[in-house]
Symmetry: C2
Subunit: 888 residues, 2 copies
């Protein structure tokens, strides 16, 4: 039996020992984000905040046929009675009624996606009693709003899919010639209220006069809204788990719309775009005589917060200072920039500041590192705490083309979708792959606009500057591929309607034809008409570089990069120390294809020998370059690894393999054609010998792909030892080298002990110096995932997106390491380290650049990670964060 309480009443100075025992993450999971903020404000921060009753998130799964279970009803009733005591107000009291809101609040914020009911507690009797004098309109309008929200959200009354209350309001305004809601006087509001009641009656429904009944029904509706269509859609979009659930917060209402000296507003402790904390002003806005929803509705323009400072009534000056001071206090206590909502309610002639919500503020990629560095400089956070503020996934955005704020404001935004792959680009609209390829071939920048993409579109996608889809989510094909290639993408821009026959798309009032230019911002999800200027930063901003330097010091995982010769310099410049995967197969393609063909398929031994010499020569040059750039750091060179058919002569009648991924390739080809690894190893050792002669410290590491049995290791170690002997004979030097395996099959992963023993074994008959100086292993998690799940990525397009969308996997298995594959990783690491506690184990699959995966691998105890050069920054940050969270 769970001993978790069914609800929490938050009042000033409240204490809950069971909550104090929980971590921040656990608290947010239990109470939701909003509830967590309410708890902090009441229990710890001591700032003025309306009393609230939190019904934790797990109740969202406990409804019985959509209703609160009896035990919870009882609990809510008790909680409401406590609220009455704490506030001195009473539900249903015609003199001093307690009014509340029922607000959703999940662990992860999904603004506007779930339901809220305000002004709960009003009924005919209260309104009758209080709707007089100055406050007449206020009370009538509040009641009108309650009826409307209740009818829509709780009673779920709709007519032909429309909201009849909204419709009645619009019709009535027309009828009486009112331009806005504010033009409706008390008499009109009374009429509107009676029309609203008629709508209830028409649907055999009734608005309950009992305030407690309103609360219970309201809470149920908010819980249910966790599973409304918009919320589910958003969770799909954002990758938010379905089982989190939402909490319900029943909070005493305060009224920013009560009097002209009441107000509502938002306040950020720093600038969320730049990260700067301005000395001369506060970030945020305020709106007098308004409720929060009015700000959203944009009825009047909100004012900068300095309207408080400059207000004619000095009472507001004090509130301005209270905002500033409380903001500073919050930052010091919560160790992060805060995004807050507040209301000023005039009570007994005095404007009083109430804090409604606090939360860690969202910010731009640029602001992240600025805030971290500044807050550390200000002594608010340690370097470790500062580092944890960053989202490593976003650091590379700082180098993507971006739209400056001024240009953004000046541009015509036509719609907004889900920001699926960061960066911004302008280009001409095309609707098909063929159009993309045609136009791109003419040197034109193109943007592919389509309903969704699939494996068949990859050529067209790659030819595009940006991708815009009208469906899909952040885990759809378009998003994943665009992210992998670094192409900006916006997906799920559902307002866009493509008309393929007309060769155009429509969105709102805009019509965009094939060939028209648009600009897509994959960092924000925005789409603009025409070419909005973009700028490409040359280097990371200083604050980001500072944070990276901290991270580099803190991390325990070595960070290498997957780089061939041409990419090694960039990898080094981005902070990689060592190459975790030098793929050699590209060397053999293109113009050089005839060489490997002569070796594999030719019938002229002399030609084959000449081809091997050519292979040796260009291989050695490439290897030497990378070893030189990474002087003093390991360079893992993987022996030739490609499906055989990639080398077939064009006119060949050789039969393609049935399943090339599981065919005659990699170390298997090295076993059947040992002249190829022999040549590659000779090139590696000779390249290193050249650098040794220059006084450098080259550290070549020879790696076997697709190993499945220790016997393969023995065979190739013998080849390496033979080559080492030859090099020694020819050049008089023993070149030190390491020798390792790629772990990319379940078979290899399941034989950790045997593999490490094979790597450590002596090759009989060879001197000590001809042997590798040490062994290593590196997880090729892409192939390992493919073989473990029996999924060929090339062929997965018809079912994998569906599997991911339906959450058959906890995360996309080709983005973040799947738990099943992680189990194999653990099995290997445990066995390998049992044989040799210092055995070097890396990862070089693309999972090595995934932030979630890096955290897991840090905990598992890998030696290092390797990823494409473009992901080195994020990986350094992620590795440092992993160490801060789980020191090892």
């Amino acid at each position: 039996m769970s001993t978790t309480p069914q609800s929490y009443l938050f009042t000033q100075g409240c204490r809950y020992p069971d909550l104090e025992a929980k971590s921040k993450d656990e608290l947010k999971t239990l109470l939701g984000g909003k509830g967590y903020g309410l708890y902090l404000m009441h229990s710890e921060l001591g700032i003025r905040c309306p009393v609230a009753l939190n019904l934790p998130t797990f109740h969202a799964h406990g409804l019985e046929d959509g209703r609160l279970p009896a035990a919870l009803v009882e609990e809510v009733r008790k909680g409401l009675a406590e609220m009455e005591k704490a506030t001195g107000k009473r539900f249903g009291d015609t003199a001093n009624p307690l009014l509340v809101s029922a607000r959703s609040g999940a662990k992860v914020s999904m603004p506007g996606m779930m339901d809220t009911v305000l002004n709960i507690g009003l009924n005919d009797a209260i309104v009758e009693a209080l709707a007089t004098g100055e406050q007449e309109r206020f009370w009538l309008d509040s009641y009108r709003r309650l009826l409307q929200m209740y009818g829509d959200v709780v009673a779920q009354i709709s007519e032909d899919g429309q909201d009849p209350f909204e419709h009645a309001l619009a019709a009535f305004k027309k009828e009486v010639g009112a331009a806005t809601d504010l033009d409706l006087g008390p008499a009109e509001l009374r009429e509107l209220i009676s029309r609203y009641k008629a709508i209830f009656a028409r649907h055999d429904s009734e608005f309950p006069q009992d305030p407690i009944e309103q609360v219970l029904r309201g809470a149920e509706a908010v819980f249910r809204s966790w599973n409304n269509e918009r919320a589910i859609f958003t969770r799909r979009q954002e990758g938010i788990p379905d089982d989190l659930g939402t909490a319900v917060n029943i909070q005493e209402m305060v009224f920013g719309n009560k009097t002209p000296r009441s107000a509502t507003g938002v306040f950020f402790t720093r600038d969320k775009s730049t990260g700067v904390k301005h000395a001369d002003h506060l970030e945020g806005t305020v709106l007098f005589q308004a409720q929060g929803e009015d700000v959203v509705a944009g009825i009047r323009n909100s004012l900068p917060l300095e309207a408080l400072r400059d207000h004619e009534d000095p009472a507001f000056h004090a509130i301005y200072e209270e905002l500033r001071e409380t903001g500073d206090m919050l930052e010091r206590r919560l160790k992060n920039m805060q995004d807050t909502e507040f209301t000023i309610e005039e009570r007994d002639g005095v404007p009083l500041l109430f804090w409604l919500q606090i939360r860690d503020g969202k910010r731009s990629a640029q602001a992240e590192s600025v805030i971290a560095v500044e807050m550390h400089r200000e002594g608010i956070v340690t370097r470790e705490e500062a580092l944890l503020q960053l989202n490593p996934d976003r650091i590379e955005e700082l180098l993507f083309p971006r739209i400056e704020e001024a240009d953004r404001k000046a541009a015509t935004r036509i719609t907004r979708g889900s920001a699926a792959s960061p960066g911004a680009a302008a280009g001409k609209v095309v609707f098909t792959q063929d159009e993309a390829l045609d136009l791109a071939a003419k040197g034109e920048p193109v943007i592919l606009v389509t309903v969704m993409t699939s494996q068949e579109d990859v050529k067209g996608m790659k030819a595009s500057r940006a991708i815009l889809t009208t469906t899909g989510t952040k885990v759809s094909h378009a998003a994943i591929m665009a992210t992998a290639w670094g192409i900006p993408a916006v997906v799920g821009a559902s307002e866009i309607a493509i008309d393929p026959d007309a060769g155009l798309f429509r969105v709102g009032d805009f019509e965009v034809r094939r060939g028209d230019t648009i600009t897509v911002d994959g960092s924000t999800g925005e789409v603009f008409l025409g070419a909005v200027p973009t700028t490409v930063p040359r280097d990371l901003p200083e604050a980001a570089r500072t944070v990276l330097a901290w991270a580099d010091e803190m991390k325990k995982l070595q960070v290498r990069a997957n780089a061939e010769a041409a990419e090694t310099r960039k990898a080094y410049d981005h902070g990689a120390r060592g190459v975790g995967l030098f793929r050699t197969e590209h060397m053999f393609l293109g113009d050089r294809l005839p060489y490997i063909q002569a070796v594999l398929f030719g019938d002229d031994p002399d030609e084959a020998a000449r081809a091997l010499e050519a292979i040796y020569a260009f291989s050695k040059e490439d290897f030497r370059h990378s070893l030189r750039v990474m002087d003093g750091h390991g360079v893992t060179i993987r022996l030739l690894d490609a499906p055989l058919h990639e080398f077939f002569p064009a006119d060949s009648d050789l039969e393609r393999e049935e399943n090339p991924m599981l065919g005659h390739r990699s170390v298997r080809m090295a076993i059947t054609n040992p002249e190829i690894p022999r040549t590659q190893i000779r090139a590696i050792l000779d390249a290193a010998a050249d650098l040794l002669a220059e006084g450098l410290d080259p550290r070549p590491e020879i790696e076997l792909p697709l190993v499945i049995t220790p016997a393969e290791v023995h065979e190739l170690k013998r080849v390496a030892a033979e080559v080492a002997m030859q090099v020694h004979e020819d050049r008089g030097v023993w070149v030190p080298y390491a020798f390792g395996i790629m772990v990319e099959t379940p078979a290899a992963a399941l034989q950790g002990r045997a593999m490490v023993e094979a790597l450590r074994a002596r090759v009989p008959g060879f001197p000590e110096e001809a042997h590798p100086r040490h062994g290593f292993a590196s997880f090729g998690t892409n192939d390992l995932t493919q073989t473990t799940l029996a999924i060929s990525r090339d062929d997965a397009d018809k079912f994998l997106p569906l599997y991911v969308e339906r959450r058959f996997f906890p995360r996309h298995p080709f983005v973040s390491l799947d738990p099943v594959v992680e189990r194999l990783v653990r099995l290997f690491v445990e066995e390998a380290r049992a044989v040799d506690p210092d055995f070097d184990i890396f990862i070089c699959g693309e999972h090595g650049g995934d932030v979630y995966t890096i955290g897991r691998l840090h905990e598992i105890g890998l030696t290092g990670i390797s990823m494409s050069p473009g992901k080195v920054y994020r990986s350094i940050l992620a590795a440092a964060q992993a160490q801060v969270r789980h020191p090892r």
Copy 2:
């Protein structure tokens, strides 16, 4: 440090506590087969046997540059001194010299493949002293033989690849006009001896006069012969591990050629062809005044053993009785039929019987069960012991076409290769796949004769009655495929030279042209000219049926069969109780292909609906048949499992998958196209409902192929529950069914707990009766091996044979379960049984019919095994043997 003694001296009544502690298998591993027999005879059986010194098998790996290490030399010297004491003879004594043989003896018998040296201990002085009178020729001939064997085997003297001793003998016989060796008198033998010594001198070699030196060099030579070419080739052929090594047995010589009243012979305790123990005669032969090698050389015809019984000297009558009585005693003590060698040496005028070798006798497949049943009837062995005498692999041979002994004797054998796939067949010789297909299409029986086969030849192989290759071994492609298909095959018939241009092959003096008829006996490895009659047994012989009935009672593993409708009756008749794998994909091919095409690729919903109805109808009929035949036993029906492209319309431009094995198939297609599993499940449940209405007990089991996540189980269980509801609604009956998964991916194997929990979970919202009655899992070890090792069998031909031949795997991984795959099996079983100790787990991959694998799976604790109907007999036997060896 090993405490195993370096050698063992076997004398009458000897005791070795360390050997007494070992099992029979361990003793044979240590002492070799021959050494084990010597140990038994001396220590336990108390029958007259020459003293012997055994140098155990591990020494074969301990030679230092081909020489015995010093410690062993010392040990041998001591042992030889003990032999002198035990025999009363002395090495080098000119009056009573001790002569010995040095014989190889590995754990597994490889007759004639390793070396032997006889008559060790003779030298000039001894021969000079003893070669007089009646015995003159005996001693000279013995010395001549020693010189020749020593020169060949120990000194390894050869001239142009020829044996110069053999050559000198032949030349000398011609010179003096001698027809056979026996025609050489003492004078000639003295001349020959001097010519032999000249050969030694010519090669800067010398025959050592010191008997001890002869023994040491002889022992070394025998140890070295473990790695001679013939022995290695044989091990490859027979799948004998390289690391076993041979023992050396140094045994006192006894001489069947000493006098006319001396003899040598062989004696079998039962008829090795029929298994019968005849009342009126003994099995075996005897040759007077001869040594064992003379029998082999065939100088004179050997006589039946009754020659002893009917001998004029009653002393031999006693020996005949001694043979019979000792044979009976050996069978009772050793609990098996014995194959023995003996020598009768006349000493002091008395013929004395010496037993040289005893071993469990090899026997025909027919004889195996006859002997087992008879020995049990005679009270010699328990049923369990009798059962262990059988080789389960051979029982199906009893149903293959075979050549009767009389026909075999009358036929012209042209060569012999390795018996690779049992059964006999006659047919016309073809040399290529195309010829095979052409001739077979005309209804002619063909036999494919080729150097080796590969994946490209499978059509031609399947069209052939038998396969004959000139290279390869029992683990080559030809052998494995032929065994799988039940086609007789002889491989490695290296005497055959194919001349493709001339369209013929030559072997010995024979020339066989394309289209000529030959007969291949894959049970013996023999190849005959012309059509030798073959007979096909209708049923197993009675003894085999008796043994099978015992086995069926003893086994703990359930034995099912992989059978579609047409094969279910045969499976039941062979003893399978239940279908472990009913593949449904064949139902959809051929004439029925358009139906599934209409569902998958059509654009007419009505046509698709009609197609689904047709699919339903033929599926139901097939399912009902199998459920009826297996009434009361489980029938596991696997939902559609085939690569998508197998269903592509012929004129389709659909793109074939890159790696179909890892593509959109199996349960993935069931998820994306749920109408197909829905139709299949409805057919299954309706078929069962029909039988329930007849009062039968149908037990359908629905199985999902290629599962990788528990979510797939949840999805398809819901479909099944929905169908069960519909069936209940339509027919008023709740059909009981089981629901399970095929474990054929590492992902499934690594999630035992989650999979079993998913199988046990309730489908929300469904009544208890709509749920499966129980869950189960079945290992698809073929795909599991492919994914674990990342080997596509279709594409493995270029490297897998090499890997198998070089012993990169302990056994062929697609024949016997690889240890790495076994690890996954164990992981799954452990987790699954932790959730539910009674959870049913089967295997239905072809490994399920492999005798080695069955033993492993019995120990792991599987519920049952399933294999093709043709392997049910062997599997029942293997399962029972596993239980006898490891009761559970």
